[in-house]
Each structure stands twice: as structure tokens, then as C-alpha cells.
Symmetry: C3
Subunit: 272 residues, 3 copies
């Protein structure tokens, strides 16, 4: 079922154009995310040139989603009130034609959030679902891993990703040593990035937020997910060179997200 | 209506004395703030020499406010329970004569928090209201901007700030390229700071917390708001020189908040 | 009542072995902690080689505790829902024989969380209770300090710690210039660390999380608490040498937690 990698499905120039559009339009990105990564997510969006807004209460989420360029729903630390806010935000986004991204953190490993992810996925249409291999396998009906770290290699999850993408008519992005992004027909593989990304909490969560940002400035959700992945992982390549461990890496990553030009992004991109 | 800038309303020596008092007394500052910036706010207070305490539940907020030196109420991510805690904290603060600061994040852009801000402002007396131009305009009856970033220049908001200050007998501080702080009669303009402050989430929120801290060690709310603004923006001047982007800037900002002496603060202050 | 320091109760080699086990087994640590330090805590665990998971809602906490290697319950910002989740996590941990750590942030200074700490301590059996001198004194029946900073010297709290350890058959760790850890019979004193640890929010909270991690890989709770203290404070010694203030210190601390080898830990450890 898995498509062959489409090496030419997206061209480096498209990544550069997407980043250029991001910087020009500074999209307003509503994030309903978790208490662990809210700060890093907002800083990653700001560094990349976006306008983050963490509006995650049930009274404001729906209305704010409708005026946002993109919306992130991340299930890292759901509570009763924020779960309601997530449902409201998805309603608001879909009603206004605003793309939203689902990040089903620890789906498969913990039951309640898994049910929320499946509920949102069953009744609504995210532009992108982003997770590690375990999470994507869990949403596709397989078994999840322990907690938030993927125990299934991203490669093994690609079949599940393609199935999920076709079933829900969305893009599915699987993080791993090689990131894989599919809309069910096309498959983009990106080989940038560094192991230190797994030693900083919220790198994946920030990636989901960047996908929502790019989805707000391009009509192609596959390009949005791929451009966000490229931006974060090419920035990580640079950050790894100037850092001494996970602390300084996270700081350098924000600096790189801010400094990276569209041209440098296209030049350093490693499509696999 | 707008007063002429009073270049001599506050003297650099007063800023130095206020910082000296802050370091001597290490005020206990209760922060009811948002999940995005709670960490950076606490670190900014610690770096500056204060004792932060994020007591933001409805059962403890009132009693703790009464034993604090200053209280911050920041509306970045309100929830049902924390909104109740904010009301309780304001009651506790006012009952004990403890100054409190209102930071109406995204007021005007989102309805519920705007109503909370107006409710607190209508029934109680903050020592300081701190916001960007859009937020201050919204509280004064104008239109807010998109999300948390000011779309109205600080200069345009100064009339609204003066009106708000006179109506509520409080100090109003408007962040911008030039920060403007008024008690309705006097106007202090501070020209320190750096554009990277707008690329780090929580710089403004930390400023509100520092205002609560200074209000706890000086009886003059105008001086408190101005000294906090001076401390943060002079520190930002230094941080910008030793950093490479928003990540390293945020780190250097904390280092500078810790290192800045009262004498250096007075010497580098740019009253405009 | 206070035992004499047992200089030879734990040997440096045991600290090295514990860190080696931590790196080998990468324990899954469930953290129910506060909004201020959740990010730093997760990053400290990741840097040290653990797998953090912040599962702190009432629906998932019990089940997740049962599959974790260790559980942290930190009372920094309790809410109605997270307090329920804490009770559930403790049930889940005890039912599955998983060690859990209690960090009674600001116990004695604020009533509700004090009552939660006493409730958990009265009905259940933490492997470790970790706090500053004021908090430990408060749990033992004395008076707490102002907010989260200890006003009672760690030395003065050691009698209270021994009593608490004997009463509840647990290990009690008191943070201070010299950290003191007792199981009611043995007393370990560790003299590493740096004053900048008190200028970074969440250093103590991260220490509690590291204790839960070590408790998950060693059957000796005294060794777990002592090894976590050694890891954090020896890392702090290194971080202080390469930093310029609290901002860069916190970054370097994460780098050091990642880089520190078992051999270096044993070599730099200062048992007092």
C-alpha cells in the first residue's frame, strides 16, 4: 500500500517560497497545547516570524480559531476544560475554513487522550496529523509505545500513515530520524535533523505548531507539513554545530529558526 | 488631554534607589499568570532578586495575596478556576493594602478575558495596568489588535492611557519602541529596549511581574512601573549585544537582570 | 535524636552505579508538577537520560502511574483537577509497587497544599519526601517559611527530617547549602552545588523528578535521593564555571546533566 518515495513531489524552491510567505504574512497561530511546551512552542513560532496566541479556554477557543490563520490541537496535558476548548477550537476552525493540526501526544499509551484524538479525527478534518511512529500506529489501530517517545521506528509507521491519510483525507507526518510526510498519494522524506531534538522537550510539539503556521500561508497541506519539518530540522542541523548539549541546543535552535533564510533552507534541505 | 512629557518627573537617581530597595528587600511577588510565561516570569523575578510565588488556585489566592509584597494578575490563559483565583487574589490584596498589577493580555481581541479585565478594573483599584497599545486602547473603549502583539503604536495609545489612569486613579504603562508610563498627570517615556523583546514570549508578562515587585518596595506606583520598565529594557540593551537571536537573547536577558547594578541602571537609562 | 552523619553510609561507587543504571534503563517518570517548572523538569529528565511524561489529569493519572518506573507529585500549583490526579497517581503507584516522590512546595506557607501534602503523607507511603528546610519543618509540625524559599537553614531541619522519616518509613531530603538526606537511621550530607541553583526556578522541582527517576532504577530510596542530589549539584558545579548568571547557568546545567559520566560524578562528589 505504501507509495514509493516521490523524490520530486516537492521541490526545494517550494520550501523557500513557503518560508518567504511565512515571514511576509506572520500568521496568527492559535495553540491549544500542553503546560510543558507552551513556552517553547510560542518562542519557536516567534523566532520563525509568526504570531502565537495560546487561547485554550472553552469560552474563547471557538471564536478565536475563526480569526486565526492556523490552529494547533496538542494533547500533551489535556484537562476537562482544555479538552472542551479543543472541541470548540476545531468547530471554530472548520466553520471558518481555517486549517488545524492534530498532535496526538502519547496516543496509544494513555486512554483518555487517545479517545479525544480519535473523536476529533472521526468527526472532523484536520489538515495535518503529526506524531511519532507509535502515535500514528495507535491512531491507525495499532499499539502505541511508552509515553511520548516513539518505540516504533518511523519507517515502520509509514504504512499506517498512508492509510490514515487516505481514510481521513488529511496529511500525516511521522517524526523520526528520517521524517516522512504523506497525503496518501505523495510521500516526502526529509533527512535533516539531529538526535538532540529527542533530548529537548517540545521539539515535536513546536513542529506541530509550525505546521499550523505554514498551513495558514499555503493551500497545500503537504507542503505546509513538509516546510515546517524542513525549517525545524535544518535549524537543528545548525544548532547542533554551535551547542554543547541539550540546553544550549534548544537555545541555538531558536536562534537558527530566526536566522534561517528561505534560500538557506532550500540549499540545506536533504530530501531523501 | 495628553500631558506633555515631563522629562523631569522622575530622576535617574530614583530608579537606582528603587532597584537598590528591590535587592535589599527581595519582595515576595504572587503571580497569577499564564501557562506560557510562568517559567520565564519566575526566572526574571529570581534574576532581579525577588521571591516569586505562583499561587493561582481559588483556595489559596486570597490569603497568599495578603502576605505578599505585590500581586500580578495576568490574563494570558485564563481558566474557570484561575479566573476565580484572580478575583480572590485581588480581594486579598486590596484588603491588606497590597499593590496589584493588571496585565490584560489580548484584551480587545478575545471577549471573556476582556470582560474579566473590565470587571477587575471597574470594581477594584490596581496600582498599575500594563499592556501594549492595543490592549490599553481596548480597555479605554477602543478596538484591540490581533492577539497579543500590539498593532496600535504605543504613541497612539498614550491618550487612552492618560484617560484610563485618571478614570481609575492608577498608573497605566504602555509598552512599545518607547515605553510610556503615566499616572494621569505625569508622563515618563523610556527609550531603552530592543526589537528582540518582541520575539521572546513573556517579556511583557515579566515586566508586569517586575512592576508588582517594585510596587512592593516603593509607595509611588509611577516609579514602580517606570523602574520595572527601565530594569527590563536596560537589561535588554545589554542582552542584545551579547546574543545571536531570540533564544540566546532570552538567556542573556536573565543574566543581565541579575548583574545590573543600581548605578548602571541610572547611567544607561534613556528618558525620552 | 539526630543521627551522626554516617560518612560511609553510601560510597561514591554506588552513586556511579546508580547513574549508570539510569542511563541504561531510561526510566519512564510520570510527573504531576506545576505550570512553572514543567518544562525545565522534563528537560532535566531528558538531559539526564530519562523518559518524562507529564500525565496529570484525573482520568489518566492512576493507570499511567502503574506503568511508570517512578512518579513525582509536586504541589507547586495545585488545582482541583490536578489535586485529584495526584491522589489517583499515588493510588496507581502504590497499587503497582511503583515508588513515588512527594515535593510539598510551599507547605506551611499556604494552607490547601499543606493539607494535601499531609493527607498524602498520612494515608500513603512515598519513597522520598523532598523539600527545603521550611517545608520539611512544616510537615513535621513546625512553622513554614515565606513562599518557596527556605527561611530555616537546612541544618535546623535535619531533626525534623529524621523524625518525619521514622514516622512515615520514608526517605526525607532537605535541600540547602549542604543537602541532607536521611532514612531515619542513615544520614547522607552532600556539599556540592552553587548559590545560582536558588536563582533558577525549578531546580528543586527537577531534583524531585530525578529522585523519582533514580527510585525507579534502584531499590534503595536513600541511594535514589542521594544520587539525584549528587547528579544535580555536581552538574551545578560545572555549570557555574561556564555561565554568567542565572540564565546561562540554567542552560549549562542541562548540558552538564547530559554530559556527566558516572565516573565523573563519583570523582567530583563531596560527601560532607
Amino acid at each position: 500500500m505504501s507509495p514509493s518515495p516521490s523524490f520530486d513531489s516537492l521541490q526545494p524552491r517550494q520550501f523557500a517560497d513557503a518560508l518567504h510567505a511565512l515571514r511576509e504574512r506572520a500568521p496568527l497561530v492559535q495553540c491549544l497545547t500542553n503546560i510543558v511546551v507552551a513556552n517553547f512552542t510560542a518562542n519557536a513560532l516567534l523566532a520563525a516570524g509568526c504570531a502565537p496566541a495560546m487561547v485554550d479556554n472553552a469560552r474563547e477557543a471557538e471564536g478565536f480559531a475563526a480569526i486565526s490563520a492556523g490552529v494547533l490541537v496538542n494533547l500533551g496535558t489535556p484537562y476537562e476544560e482544555t479538552a472542551q476548548a479543543m472541541r470548540a477550537a476545531v468547530r471554530g476552525a472548520e466553520g471558518a475554513g481555517v486549517p488545524w493540526v492534530l498532535d496526538p501526544v502519547a496516543a496509544g499509551a494513555v486512554p483518555w487522550r487517545t479517545s479525544i484524538a480519535l473523536e476529533l479525527l472521526g468527526a472532523h478534518h484536520p489538515a495535518v496529523v503529526r506524531g511519532n511512529g507509535s502515535e500514528i500506529l495507535a491512531l491507525a489501530g495499532g499499539q502505541g509505545g511508552k509515553g511520548v517517545e516513539s518505540t516504533a521506528a518511523a519507517d515502520q509507521a509509514v504504512d499506517a500513515a498512508v492509510m490514515l491519510a487516505r481514510t481521513h483525507a488529511c496529511v500525516v507526518a511521522v517524526s523520526g530520524a528520517v521524517d516522512q510526510i504523506t497525503d496518501g498519494q505523495r510521500l516526502v522524506r526529509i533527512a535533516n535533523g539531529h538526535p538532540l531534538l529527542t533530548r529537548v522537550t517540545g521539539a515535536g510539539c513546536a513542529l506541530g505548531a509550525l505546521m499550523a503556521a505554514f498551513a495558514g500561508v499555503t493551500g497545500d497541506a503537504l507542503l505546509a507539513a513538509a516546510a515546517a519539518t524542513a525549517l525545524l530540522t535544518v535549524a537543528a542541523d545548525g544548532a547542533a554545530q554551535s551547542s554543547h548539549g541539550p540546553g544550549s541546543f534548544a537555545v541555538a535552535l531558536l536562534d537558527e529558526l530566526h536566522a534561517l533564510t528561505p534560500e538557506a533552507l532550500a540549499a540545506r534541505l536533504k530530501l531523501a
